[in-house]
Symmetry: C2
Subunit: 116 residues, 2 copies
């Protein structure tokens, strides 16, 4: 069975994961909750490649989780902000954060403390 077929699964967890359950999407959303909104910011903060970021952003916009917003009219530039629907994923990120703090101690720091 292919991953994408999960979007119509009987289980709501599976349906949710069909959108946010890949390797980078939740990290983009974390960045949004930290106040980031621009392409280059996501790149720097998360460490993912432009290639993948572009594809994920498209998917999140299609899913109604992010909104693509023009923020400059000189050279047309766009950024991404959470919709209401996206905001409601906040609790999920909080549970992952709580679990991580308790069960995944840092072994060697990545020197990105100021990454937000």
């Amino acid at each position: 069975m292919k991953w994408t077929e999960l979007s119509d699964n009987w289980c709501p967890v599976a349906r949710t994961l069909s959108i946010v359950g890949d390797r980078w999407t939740l990290l983009i959303l974390r960045d949004c909750f930290l106040g980031l909104s621009r392409f280059e910011q996501f790149i720097e903060s998360s460490g993912m490649t432009r290639h993948i970021l572009a594809e994920r952003l498209k998917r999140l916009v299609d899913a109604g989780i992010l909104e693509r917003r023009q923020y400059s009219d000189g050279p047309k530039r766009y950024d991404y902000v959470l919709t209401e629907k996206g905001q409601e994923l906040g609790p999920a990120l909080m549970t992952l954060k709580t679990w991580g703090k308790k069960h995944m101690p840092v072994r060697r720091p990545t020197g990105n403390e100021a990454g937000a």
Copy 2:
């Protein structure tokens, strides 16, 4: 940056995702919370391939989230149960379920209602 390097990220969300943030792992855990524990059960319930399931189970055991337990001594057979650490991912699954019920309606059923 490679996915696996996230295990030492400064952000606890990223560290958590370095274990459970791939395409099938959280679905295995959902099944565990539903009471499933055997290889063939996971296969049937989730629809993933044996190949991937075997690899994910190994990773979850290494991470201390599942425990591999011998349940038969005739032909030696093993199943998998949540550890304390694994149990504590329950709240995360609940938030994903809640979000999915609200924001991801089923369009065409997969006929797996009895899957649990």
